[in-house]
């Protein structure tokens, strides 16, 4: 274990803990951004350059900006989560986490010594070799994930559709109609 592994591990666990324990939703979101950035650094250290940059652009950039956007839009300016409403969930969550850790430990117990990094790395993690694998060997899996994401997007759009589709009325026009009605009364 190198110094980098140790520091990255401590930072990852600390930022993940901060993300779930901080009372303020925006602070928690920021801790999650920090977590994603450290994860990107780990990818860089594994010479997975492309994955690292995509982690920053997609997760730390786009996804978390939208996430924080929703938090800021829904909560008031302090974004304090306040009293925990689902207190009974805590022991359940702890038990599930324990089961998950045991399962992980069991899964990794069968694995021998981990391959040295030099054997695993993929031509510097550049998009070329990665693309050849994704769109060659694992094309069906990529297509399945694409279909899944597409279905999720379409269903999100369908779910927020109003029941009946009315022609869009300009706000000025609807305001004028309302005023005319008031005058008529």
């Amino acid at each position: 274990m190198s110094a980098f592994d140790l520091i990255a591990g401590v930072l990852l666990v600390a930022s993940a803990l901060a993300a779930v324990t901080l009372k303020n939703a925006v602070h928690a979101g920021l801790a999650l951004v920090g977590n994603f950035l450290v994860l990107a650094m780990v990818y860089f250290a594994l010479e997975a350059q492309f994955l690292g940059w995509i982690q920053i652009i997609v997760y730390a950039g786009a996804v978390m900006v939208l996430f924080l956007f929703v938090i800021m839009l829904l909560y008031d300016a302090k974004a304090d989560v306040g009293v925990d409403r689902l207190r009974w969930m805590r022991p359940v969550g702890a038990a599930l986490a324990a089961v998950f850790f045991l399962a992980l430990a069991y899964a990794f117990s069968g694995v021998g010594p981990v391959n040295p990094l030099a054997d695993v790395k993929l031509a510097g993690g550049l998009p070329g070799p990665l693309g050849k694998l994704l769109y060659g060997l694992w094309l069906y899996i990529v297509l399945l994930i694409a279909v899944l994401l597409f279905v999720a997007t379409v269903s999100a759009v369908v779910l927020v559709q109003p029941q009946t589709r009315k022609a869009r009325v300009k706000p000025q026009v609807s305001e004028r109609d309302r005023e005319l009605e008031e005058v008529g009364k």
Binding site: N24, V26, L30, F50, I56, G61, V65, L66, M72, A77
Partner: protein, 330 residues
């Protein structure tokens, strides 16, 4: 030794960028004044050339007030984020061919994935504006921050997809490769004109300039995200904003106008030609600023998703089809 040289080059680049920022504030005010038949700052020093120094002294000695409703930590963090990532983006732009800067390479970092680096830095810079809007504890700031987040996600998408065409054609994500390809095959603006137009418009939104300066639309939002900031914290935001402008004005020629290559077969002089192209784009932004209106916010968002995004996507698919039918990058 290489680390030391890179660090020194980085330091020199930062100093150059800060100098460019200081004199851009002066040039901007002078040029905008000419457009509006005024004089602009001309009292401090000859032609007003010492004005940036006077402004800096004033900003430093101003009392640093913070808002009682503000979230202290994030309120302080936001300008730091803005400023840091605004400075970082310039590092991968090549100013000339290898070894042309007194035997050194005229760039700070030569990344294989330079285009991705620029996007990562640009996306993280959004956090500065966005968080300052929330942390100020003011409604105007929050509205400015929300506008910036919603707007920039839309324009970032158009920006990214517009760049896919050139990247497919060149077959590399490194800015150096893109510039060298243009030296051999001709400028990318000739190959990829629609991508250039989309990129230029989206870049205007990205740097928050007219017609898309909705983030701090002063008639609607007082000062937008920076309403509650003053003295050096405000200067950090102001610097970040102008540094985005400076970087984008160097990035557009690098991507589409041959970078440091000379136009019309003139002799290649490293740094000089890129500087001239940079100056042209800096002026173009001022010109648009002085002569155009600000679009309404909803119109702007609809334009990003309804026009720029489909155009960029269609052009990308056309390029992809063409490249695939030729059997690989040019």
């Amino acid at each position: 030794m290489t680390y030391l040289i890179t660090a020194l080059k980085g330091l020199v680049l930062i100093l150059m960028l800060l100098f460019a920022f200081a004199y851009l504030t002066w040039a901007m005010r002078r040029v905008l004044a000419r457009f509006q038949i005024r004089l602009g700052p001309n009292r401090v020093g000859p032609l007003g050339l010492l004005q940036p120094i006077a402004d800096a002294v004033k900003a430093i000695f101003k009392e640093d007030i913070s808002v009682s409703k503000a979230d202290k930590f994030v309120y302080w963090l936001a300008p730091v984020i803005s400023f840091t990532f605004a400075l970082a983006a310039f590092a991968v732009i090549p100013l000339g061919p290898e070894g042309s800067l007194f035997g050194l390479d005229p760039w700070v970092a030569d990344l294989n994935l330079g285009v991705l680096y620029i996007f990562a830095v640009a996306e993280l810079a959004v956090y500065g504006i966005f968080l300052s809007g929330w942390a100020s504890g003011s409604k105007y700031s929050l509205l400015g921050g929300l506008r910036s987040a919603a707007g920039l996600v839309g324009y970032e998408l158009a920006l990214g997809i517009a760049l896919l065409g050139p990247v497919l054609l060149v077959g590399s994500l490194s800015l150096r490769d893109i510039v060298e390809w243009q030296g051999e095959h001709g400028w990318l603006i000739l190959w990829q004109f629609p991508a250039f137009v989309v990129y230029l418009i989206a870049a205007l939104a990205e740097m928050g300039r007219t017609p898309f300066d909705f983030v701090e639309a002063e008639q609607e939002l007082v000062g937008g995200f920076s309403t509650e900031y003053n003295s050096m914290k405000f200067v950090a935001f102001y610097m970040a904003e102008l540094l985005h402008w400076i970087t984008a004005a160097a990035l557009i020629p690098t991507l589409f106008l041959g970078g440091w290559h000379a136009p019309f077969g003139l002799p290649d002089i490293p740094i000089l030609w890129l500087f001239i192209k940079w100056a042209v784009f800096v002026f173009l932004v001022m010109w648009i600023w002085a002569s155009w209106f600000r679009t309404r916010y909803d119109v702007m968002i609809r334009f990003a998703w309804g026009v720029l995004f489909p155009v960029a996507l269609a052009w990308f698919l056309a390029t992809a089809y063409w490249v695939a039918s030729k059997g690989g990058a040019v």
